[in-house]
């Protein structure tokens, strides 16, 4: 049982980072429109996430360095500032999207307009950051998020054509009637949703919050190797569950309500309740994670005391940053921008920003003076270099695809 509890950081990061509003939206959108032909993007992104997540955990455990300590030391003060600005802005957008997402879930449950929920959710996110201990945060949301396995259950009960799902997944090709750039655009949005930079910041800072040391390396590794693939299973089952229900009518998923249709059809009210709990836990966790990661990165850049392991009065500047981020994101959502649109923009921007966060990590994981005998192995470097190349290609391909497809129309 202790062992099971120990991997909750991984589960929470996976649930909150991997399966967040971005992932729910992109996975269901692509499932309904392209079937499983884009499953490869999720698998690829998960592989990259496991590789780099493990590295982030190892660096945090061995060198006692969180992400932005490393970024500033290695990229220099100016480039790191650019990086900090880009990341903070992106995390702020993510936070706004997640707050909107939670509000949408609450709207589906209660019928009350989502804009009324936005400030309530913002307050909830801030209270969680302010008061809830880190361990409780991980355990509660990690476990509740597992409710999303209901999508896998629905898949079993629905008239799923497993053969064709599998065939599409392992023989990816552009479906008839779709253009290649559009298909690629959605591949990029899936990768962006899976690899959002705040995940790595949160994972490495979370390792410091839990005071990981070399002794905890196994746990750190397990967290990455179990947590992220679990997130992949969840998002692939969301994607697959759309196929038998929404794809025949080529539904364009524009509302969170549409995502719950397969569940309603297969499992009825009980299934819907579990889905809402799962959505709420995942997206709410992602909201706190992205808000915390803004505080983490700013405080680490400037060398302030940070973290939930301290009382707020001992880390006042960190909490000021978190609080102002939540206020700013809530205010942004209150301007009645469409949460789903914000989500899609965020994952696409994330895809463009990925290499900024992942490169310094790779560099430090190779520094023997920091890592001692825990430096990257040759095979890890081989894979990580290929992954980095993929990230750079994705990042460079994002702007042209964004314009060529008018954001996936």
């Amino acid at each position: 049982m202790r062992g099971a509890l120990k991997i909750t950081l991984g589960i929470m990061t996976a649930i909150g980072g991997f399966v967040d509003i971005g992932d729910i939206v992109t996975a269901s959108l692509t499932g309904a429109r392209f079937g499983m032909t884009l499953a490869w993007a999720v698998v690829l992104a998960t592989a990259i996430m496991v590789l780099y997540g493990e590295m982030a955990g190892r660096v945090a455990a061995v060198s006692k360095r969180a992400m932005f300590d490393v970024v500033r030391e290695r990229l220099g003060v100016r480039f790191a500032m650019v990086n900090l600005g880009a990341n903070a802005l992106l995390s702020l957008l993510t936070l706004a999207a997640e707050i909107g997402g939670v509000a949408l879930v609450l709207h589906l449950v209660t019928g009350i307009h989502y804009l009324i929920w936005v400030p309530v959710v913002g307050l909830g996110v801030w209270l969680t950051i302010w008061r809830l201990p880190f361990q409780a945060l991980e355990t509660v949301f990690g476990l509740l998020g597992l409710c999303l396995l209901v999508f896998a259950a629905a898949l079993v009960l629905l008239p799923t054509d497993w053969g064709s799902l599998w065939h599409e997944a392992i023989h990816p090709s552009v479906p008839a009637g779709e253009a290649l750039p559009t298909w690629l655009f959605y591949a990029i949005s899936l990768i962006g949703a899976c690899l959002v930079p705040y995940q790595v910041i949160f994972f490495s800072s979370g390792g410091r919050e839990e005071k990981w040391s070399v002794k905890d390396m196994k746990d750190a590794r397990l967290n990455a190797v179990v947590g992220f693939p679990l997130g992949m299973v969840l998002s692939l089952s969301i994607m697959a569950a759309m196929v038998p229900v929404l794809r025949p009518d080529s539904v364009d998923v524009r509302h969170l309500g549409q995502v719950t249709l397969p569940i309603a059809q297969a499992l009825g009210v009980l299934g819907l309740i579990l889905t809402f709990i799962g959505f709420f836990a995942c997206v709410f966790a992602a909201a706190t994670e992205s808000a915390l990661s803004i505080g983490y990165s700013v405080a680490q850049y400037f060398g302030w005391t940070w973290g939930k392991r301290h009382k707020p009065s001992a880390a006042p500047r960190f909490h000021v940053v978190c609080l102002s981020s939540v206020i700013a994101a809530t205010g942004f959502m209150l301007t009645s921008v469409d949460p789903i649109t914000v989500t899609i923009i965020t994952v696409v921007l994330a895809a463009a920003a990925i290499p900024l966060t992942y490169l310094p990590l790779l560099v430090v994981a190779n520094d023997r003076e920091y890592m001692g005998r825990y430096v990257n192995k040759h095979w890890q470097n081989g894979l990580a270099t290929i992954a980095l190349l993929v990230m750079v290609v994705v990042s460079l391909a994002t702007p042209p695809l964004l314009f060529a497809t008018k954001a996936g129309q």
């Binding site: 790191a80 400037f302 940070w306 006042p316």
Partner: protein, 127 residues
């Protein structure tokens, strides 16, 4: 090259500074070297902290703006950054700098104290 040769990028700039009790003081935003009175090689005399040290390193308009904000935050609009003098340093490795004084004794503490007193301290449950 003989042992004991280090460079500023590898060892000094942007390292985390902790006080005697392990509380974060800040980063090494810049360093101060002084040529001794008898001539000879300059030696490191202080680590410089805070926005007025960071601003010039950021450079450009943004750096100037950063410096100006930092100057407003310092008592008497002092432009020269907070100095953590060499004799306060206990250990110095590539990871971090440890001092023999407490953070409260250093003037880097002002923004921290201000935010604690006027913002965070006023919200219930901060302690």
């Amino acid at each position: 090259m003989p042992q004991g040769i280090v460079t500023a990028n590898d060892m000094l700039w942007d390292r985390q500074i902790y006080d005697r009790d392990g509380v974060e003081v800040g980063k090494v935003d810049d360093i101060e070297v002084t040529i001794p009175d008898d001539g000879g090689a300059p030696t490191l005399t202080a680590l410089l902290c805070g926005p007025t040290a960071l601003g010039p390193r950021l450079g450009g308009r943004f750096g100037a703006w950063w410096t100006a904000i930092g100057q407003r935050l310092r008592p008497g609009d002092e432009l020269y950054p907070v100095r953590v003098t060499a004799d306060m340093i206990v250990t110095f490795d590539r990871h971090e700098v440890r001092l023999n004084v407490t953070a409260a004794e250093l003037p880097t503490n002002r923004l921290r104290a201000w935010t604690r007193q006027y913002i965070i301290g006023r919200i219930p449950g901060s302690r």
